[in-house]
């Protein structure tokens, strides 16, 4: 399986994602934001970081960079595109997934392990995962997902919610919401479910010596589903 990770100026989880993808069997290529053409890929990843310093609005300038035209075409033709953290913010700015990401409710950067409940398994990302709840890791300042009532209804009608913040037993109550996201949303799909944007970093959970191993589970499952 071939994957591509886009590096924007200010990306800082690009290497971590490269390490993770390779560990689970992807042949990964790093793609520079100023390139025009996307290499042949089964998966494109927009990594975490502070693209363009998060100036103007997180993800806003990156969404207009050269390579994004190809990424958008690729996504619109059904290609698998995953945006993690800043990558999610970029996806939102392109309009490939609905909604916006606001500053965290308590106005502070948060770096910690969280639990997420898988809301929809009818897609290439989460199909065949036995667990209902995964332990992931978040590290962000602007992860407070928000959308209008109409948008929320549409998202729910189309089953576009991917994961919700919860406790270890899968309870998705407000107290387990780290950043104020509407309906505890931690990740969403486009209508067709080939595009996934999420705040948690599965690439930081790929080794028992790190924060945990549910990222390994996620990537192993993903590559098997893609095969």
């Amino acid at each position: 399986m071939k994957s591509s990770v886009i590096t924007f100026p200010g990306s800082n989880c690009d290497r971590d994602m490269d390490v993770a993808l390779k560990k689970f069997g992807f042949k990964n290529k790093m793609v520079w934001h100023n390139d025009v053409e996307l290499p042949k890929s089964d998966l494109v990843v927009l990594p975490g970081g502070f693209s363009y310093g998060d100036y103007l609005r997180c993800g806003s300038m990156a969404s207009k960079s050269k390579i994004m035209k190809s990424v958008i075409n690729f996504a619109n033709s059904g290609g698998m595109v995953m945006g993690i953290c800043n990558g999610f913010q970029i996806l939102v700015e392109t309009g490939l997934v609905p909604g916006v990401l606001l500053r965290n409710k308590y106005l502070e950067f948060i770096c910690k392990n969280v639990f997420v409940k898988i809301k929809n398994k009818q897609n290439t990302y989460f199909k065949n995962i036995d667990n209902e709840v995964l332990e992931f890791h978040i590290a962000h300042n602007e992860g407070n997902y928000f959308c209008t009532k109409d948008q929320l209804k549409e998202i729910e009608d189309n089953e576009q919610v991917a994961i919700n913040y919860c406790n270890k037993d899968g309870k998705t109550e407000e107290q387990f919401n780290p950043n104020g996201s509407i309906e505890n949303i931690a990740g969403i799909f486009n209508k067709e479910k080939n595009i996934l944007g999420m705040m948690p970093h599965p690439e930081r959970m790929i080794d028992s010596s790190l924060s945990g191993e549910d990222g390994s589970l996620f990537f192993n499952n993903l590559i098997n589903n893609l095969k």
């Binding site: 100026p9 200010g10 502070f50 502070e108 770096c111 970093h201 790190l210």
Partner: protein
């Protein structure tokens, strides 16, 4: 502007220093030259009060590749890998403008590390604030934490450990010390020594603005009531540009076109160009019209003294300019050839086709002032006689809960959760333990780092305090299973012109030196911050020690959380019941006098090395050094982290329970071993003449003391975790 003695004094120079400048130049300097002298001769850049004493520190060792004198120290960790590290203060600016002050402190120290060719792999910090009740403390704390996070998080470098203290002596002068570790191949280390004639001098990075002018001079003076007016001397950081600069520099460094490289930190273009010239015994000629400027009509004076951030100066091999420029273009950074190396051994500056400065380099560096300041020796205070009946009425669990909730003991999770501590995917021990630990990417090795200070001990007796901080750093590394390699120090003191403060400095440095020498734990880098003083009131002497250690097989790393019910808990090292200057004495008994606990370097080394061997042999399940709050505080933290309880038994000693559990004797560790391994462990301890006491057995969720008193771990956790969150949310 006409330069005279008064203008020189306004620049922070002393009368005799100005006279010396005129004598060295054999004429009156012009304003640009005076600015350059004031920047190079201030305390912050010249170390004029400290140089004499810093020379006494041990700086060499088997693993030391580079000691003090470069941008950062470098140690060998085997397999052609080396760690570059340094700690630096950004105290004065952080008090004036906490967010930018702290942020640029972090940015500056990272630049010092990647200037040497190393990719930063971990950040740490030691921050000190005034009393929690002081009206400024909360905002300063919030601003500093946001600033540290704002810069480090954006750079994508994990902040893996740190230390936060509160004490009223910092009410008017907070401390922000930032430390960075970088990883480099031994044969790809870059230095700041210029070489060769007519080599192009290149400016890269951000444009030069009017921010931070006289920053280094501001940091070389005490504060007074006009401190708010000094805001313009604080630099403004842009971590995004620094991230680009990091990547661009490392890309350029992969080739072989760089002769010398130096970041523009304190005193900006002035100190970077002069240091490169001085080390290479060369001259440098700069055309200031070529310097990329952010604002129009900047004068030579402003350009030379600006402390705008995210800039580097490079001496390049001739003919490599185009190739280098391509890299900086790719990263959207300025790149300008601004001058060349010369044989004149002078700094020659030109602006609008006129020469605006012409100064021999040696007058700025070798001939800079050095003072043997007067200092007063501090006597060891007499011991307090603590009345035993005062202790009788105390309920041990109440005291414990109070101590766990003390601002200097409580959990700092509110702080470190705001720092990205997991980016780069190699953090195997997060903040909140004895040391932060990161793997050396792609290898089985890991590097541990910790930062410590003990201002209370240093204040009570600087010599003992100085030794203690080094020992504490040593212990924190050993507690995670790392072999201590070397240290970096950040020496925060009051005014050197005050004999008492100078005495504290001299004796702390002596203590640091003695301990570092005995423990073979050399000092490879550091900085001095004097004038942490508002009017006549200085801070408690606060040397911060950043220790670095190596774990050869990261799977052998130890954490402090208790692991398994029924395991046995021991304390290594002898408990004599030293209560003076303990957290217990100061905060529960309100007794602020007396000597700090004594340091026995033999025991320190022997206990530490023996424990390290036990860890290496796989006999230790968890470990934690005993520091402020004594044995019971250490044990409680291990319980809280591991979500386990313990049946504590006080061994039969002459001292009472309170003294045994809250004393702050040194050289001690709490360790957890399996029952089956107990004999093996105690045999090794006995064989090495290491004193130990058996403390008890791990249970499910309660802390029992001698079977009588009990308290639930949940209750202790609440005491420990709530204070800071509540304080910050009020």
């Amino acid at each position: 502007m006409i330069v005279n003695e008064q203008v020189a004094i306004d620049h922070g120079l002393k009368k005799d220093e100005y006279a010396k400048i005129c004598e060295l130049l054999k004429r009156t300097p012009n304003i640009t030259e005076l600015g350059i002298f004031s920047a190079m001769w201030n305390e912050h850049c010249s170390y004029k009060s400290s140089r004499l004493h810093l020379k006494k520190l041990p700086t060499k060792g088997k693993q030391v590749i580079q000691g003090p004198g470069e941008n950062a120290g470098v140690v060998d960790i085997g397999d052609n890998d080396a760690i570059v590290f340094k700690i630096e203060s950004h105290n004065h600016p952080s008090f004036i403008e906490p967010y930018q002050g702290a942020a640029t402190g972090v940015g500056g120290i990272m630049r010092d590390v990647f200037t040497m060719g190393a990719r930063p792999i971990a950040n740490l910090n030691s921050i000190h604030f005034g009393s929690p009740q002081h009206k400024k403390t909360k905002n300063l704390l919030r601003g500093v934490v946001h600033g540290i996070g704002g810069y480090g998080n954006c750079m994508g470098v994990p902040t893996i450990a740190g230390q936060t203290n509160f004490d009223s002596s910092y009410n008017g002068n907070i401390l922000v010390n930032a430390m960075t570790l970088g990883l480099v191949k031994k044969d790809k280390i870059f230095y700041s020594k210029a070489a060769g004639l007519n080599k192009p001098v290149i400016y890269v990075g951000s444009k030069t603005g009017r921010d931070g002018i006289h920053g280094a001079s501001m940091a070389s003076a005490s504060f007074d009531e006009k401190i708010e007016e000094k805001k313009p001397t604080v630099q403004v950081g842009d971590p995004f540009t620094e991230k680009l600069l990091l990547e661009a520099c490392l890309e350029l460094m992969a080739g072989d076109s760089i002769i010398a490289i130096q970041d523009m930190g304190a005193a900006g273009l002035t100190s970077s160009s002069i240091e490169m010239a001085s080390k290479g015994n060369l001259g440098i000629e700069i055309n200031l019209n070529k310097v990329p400027c952010r604002e129009a009509k900047m004068t030579p004076y402003e350009i030379m003294l600006s402390e705008s951030q995210e800039r580097m100066l490079i001496v390049l091999e001739s003919g490599k300019e185009e190739q280098a420029k391509k890299i900086f273009d790719k990263w959207n950074l300025d790149f300008a050839v601004i001058g060349k190396t010369t044989k004149s051994k002078k700094i020659e500056l030109f602006f609008d086709n006129e020469q605006v400065a012409d100064i021999p380099v040696n007058t700025l560096v070798e001939n800079s002032p050095m003072y043997d300041r007067k200092w007063k020796k501090v006597k060891l205070p007499k011991k307090n006689k603590i009345k035993k009946e005062n202790l009788k009425n105390l309920k041990i669990t109440d005291v414990l809960k109070k101590i766990l909730a003390n601002p200097n003991v409580c959990s700092k999770e509110w702080i470190w959760q705001q720092y990205d501590h997991t980016v780069m995917g190699d953090t195997i021990q997060k903040p909140g333990g004895d040391s932060g630990v990161v793997r050396v990417h792609g290898t089985n090795k890991a590097v541990a780092a910790s930062v410590d200070s003990s201002a209370v001990y240093c204040w009570a007796h600087p010599l003992t305090g100085g030794k203690q901080v080094v020992c504490e750093s040593f212990r924190n590394l050993i507690s995670v299973g790392a072999k201590p390699v070397a240290i970096t120090n950040c020496l925060n003191f009051g005014s050197p012109e005050n004999e008492e403060n100078m005495g504290e400095f001299v004796e702390c440095v002596q203590g640091i030196g003695e301990a570092a020498k005995y423990l073979k734990f050399p000092v490879v880098s550091g900085n001095v911050s004097f004038y942490n003083q508002t009017k006549d009131e200085g801070i408690k002497p606060t040397p911060s020690i950043g220790g670095v250690g190596l774990i050869k097989d990261y799977k052998k790393m130890i954490t402090m959380d208790f692991k398994e019910i029924d395991n046995i808990v021991l304390v290594i090292g002898k408990t004599e019941g030293h209560i003076d200057q303990s957290l217990f004495a100061r905060n529960i008994l309100d007794e602020k006098n007396g000597p700090p606990p004594e340091i026995n370097l033999f025991n320190e080394k022997n206990n530490g090395e023996t424990l390290l061997k036990l860890i290496d042999d796989g006999h230790i399940k968890s470990a934690h050094d005993v520091s402020i709050g004594g044995i019971i505080t250490a044990v409680s933290k291990m319980c809280i982290k591991g979500n386990k309880g313990i049946n504590l038994k006080k061994p039969k000693y002459l001292i009472n329970e309170i003294e045994y559990f809250f004393a702050e004797d040194q050289g001690r560790y709490v360790i957890e071993v399996k029952k089956d391994n107990l004999k093996k462990v105690t045999d090794v301890l006995n064989k090495n003449a290491v004193h130990f006491d058996e403390l008890g057995t791990i249970n499910e969720d309660q802390l029992f003391i001698n079977d009588k008193t009990k308290v639930s771990i949940d209750e202790l956790r609440t005491s420990n975790t709530n204070w800071l969150t509540n304080y910050m949310s009020k």
